[in-house]
Symmetry: C2
Subunit: 341 residues, 2 copies
DNA sequence: TTGTATGCGTTATCAT
DNA sequence: ATGATAACGCATACAA
């Protein structure tokens, strides 16, 4: 936008050089208190604002970071919720957040990353759907990146993930403790070994195995995606196929919220006919009927760590050399109506 | 970010001047096809990307627009949902969207607008909570703005609002037609005349009046905010105070979803004990139990018009001179389980 | 149709 | 501690 007042104007007014104004504005140490005061007053009087484009052009960083994550635009969206927290956290670091939702194919993801570079983002918080560990080379080496999510991250990047196996183990065990003996997992059985959420499936299987012989076989109800709509359809289909488990575990809360709805479509009620628990700790689960028990990662912790790690990498002279890092977010099991009888 | 390859490098490689490269990149008409081809190849070979900061510095526009709206970070958020659609629409215009959620006071709002200017946004889609018509002067004259939302907009701006009165009239009438005779409005009675949603209250009153003498007095249940939590608390309190309407109208879906939950907390069920209808057409209302009837504005229409109008103003030589514009989004009444018996 | 000169507003570098 | 100079990469204005 038109930016009439320049640094030079402020400098003239304060009777100093533009360089001094620049130093004051960026909080550089060595400016005499008196000059500093004069400059600050001149800034106020003139209503001066820095021109970010000029600053970025010269200094090489823009103060903008990007969040590339799936489904931020759909209902009950995990990344929609997390995006809000990340934006807050970013602001505390003086950074702005731009959110984008690329399609789930490799080309679109790479294009989104390229776009981020084109737009001069200082860094990227990225939840890849298609990018695999071996695709690390597709990430520009000089672009600071923090990876979120459950897929194996491109090698050499900082990666924050959830305790998928442990979480799902806890969720399944919770249902077992509440008396369920025939527990279905809404997850999709066709998912490849490398699927991001394969660990969650493992946790479910492990919990059944660990409990002893009194549980039925693992029962996998396939869902077509991680949306409420997919969960709803999967639940209906499973009922139509005659499945009647006494407990449901959802790979995500959005899937489970949809599934509870789908069960209701077929006249089945939670928790009366079956218990249900999800994964993600979506705030909406607190308001649903029944309210949804869930494995809730510490979202604020994740947002904070993600921005911190990114900031570190932005500040580092050679981000790539910081190397890989794998950290797990802590979680709690939140018990609500859907697992109470 | 470090941006090694410059336009000059591409130009050298293609054997033309930097200016020709610039023209090719921006699709200027007059470039010989042969040169164009050579330039395009050079761009591919070098992996060149424009430096947006330099372009912005020189040309004055950044390709970024901002959305300033409340509550994008809370569950069942109207603007969270709408923001997703606006981002899609913006992308079709070659624009990126940055979303921010300022606090609901005048200072914070003005600061957010200032910040938008600082960051060289090309324009702003704004839902003011505190800015009033008379505060138009606080908006930089040269900043293209489109205002969304139900408060009276700063004078002289383009404003897209909902058909609040008509919508609420339709919602209330719908409950009357379904047999309700004692209908409460969850809205807050302490709200000033100028409140954004005062028109919705009007619509409710009008509908009761228009129906004839068989309805009770208007019954206003005050809510502390437009969140699910506020709706929940309001509903509980009203029950505790002995109110037992046979129908509820919510100023927003998020309030109503919370209220349905709050009624359940007190053992009351929708639609068995009372019908309920909201306003906003949140997608989550399709998955709730019961699914929520609602007045649903055409969100895609709103997103499309908002970006179109903003683009117009960005392209205009003097945006301010385009003058004020008031348009209303179309809506439909979506009937779901919460109003079926 | 293409190229040349110039400056956008800022900050890195180096000199004082 | 402060200031002078140059350069960041591009697009405007104009010349050829």
């Amino acid at each position: 936008m038109a930016q009439r007042i320049t640094m030079a104007a402020v400098a003239r007014r304060a009777g100093v050089s533009p360089m001094t104004v620049s130093n004051v504005l960026r909080g550089k140490a060595s400016v005499a208190p008196e000059l500093r005061a004069r400059v600050e007053e001149a800034v106020r009087e003139t209503g001066y604002r820095v021109n970010v484009s000029a600053r970025t052009l010269r200094s090489g960083h823009s103060g903008v970071i990007g969040l590339l994550a799936p489904g931020t635009d759909s209902p009950f969206s995990y990344y929609g919720m997390l995006g809000g927290l990340i934006a807050q956290e970013a602001r505390r670091h003086g950074l702005s957040l731009v959110t984008e939702t690329p399609e789930a194919d490799l080309l679109a993801e790479v294009a989104a990353v390229e776009r981020a570079r084109t737009l001069a983002y200082d860094g990227l918080i990225l939840t890849p759907l298609a990018l695999r560990p071996e695709d690390a080379s597709l990430l520009p080496a000089e672009l600071p990146v923090v990876v979120l999510g459950e897929r194996p991250a491109p090698t050499g990047t900082a990666h924050i993930s959830l305790s998928n196996q442990e979480g799902m183990f806890a969720a399944t065990t919770h249902l077992l403790e509440r008396g369920c003996r025939s527990i279905a997992l809404l997850a999709g059985d066709g998912w490849p070994e490398t699927d991001p959420l394969a660990r969650r499936i493992d946790g479910y299987r492990d919990a059944l195995a660990a409990w002893g012989g009194e549980t039925g076989e693992p029962m996998l109800i396939p869902v077509a995606g991680l949306t409420a709509q997919a969960g709803r359809e999967a639940a209906r289909d499973s009922v139509d196929r005659g499945l009647r488990p006494d407990g449901y575990v959802g790979v995500t809360d959005s899937v489970m919220l949809g599934a509870v709805r789908g069960l209701a479509d077929r006249g089945l009620r939670v928790p009366e006919d079956a218990l249900a628990i999800g994964f993600d700790g979506l705030p909406e689960g607190e308001f649903s009927l029944p309210s949804l028990s869930t494995i809730s990662p510490d979202h604020r912790w994740i947002a904070r760590r993600a921005v911190e790690l990114l900031q570190e990498r932005i500040d580092a002279p050679a981000p790539a050399e910081l190397g890989g890092l794998e950290i797990r977010a802590p979680f709690t099991l939140v018990e609500r109506e859907s697992t109470r009888r």
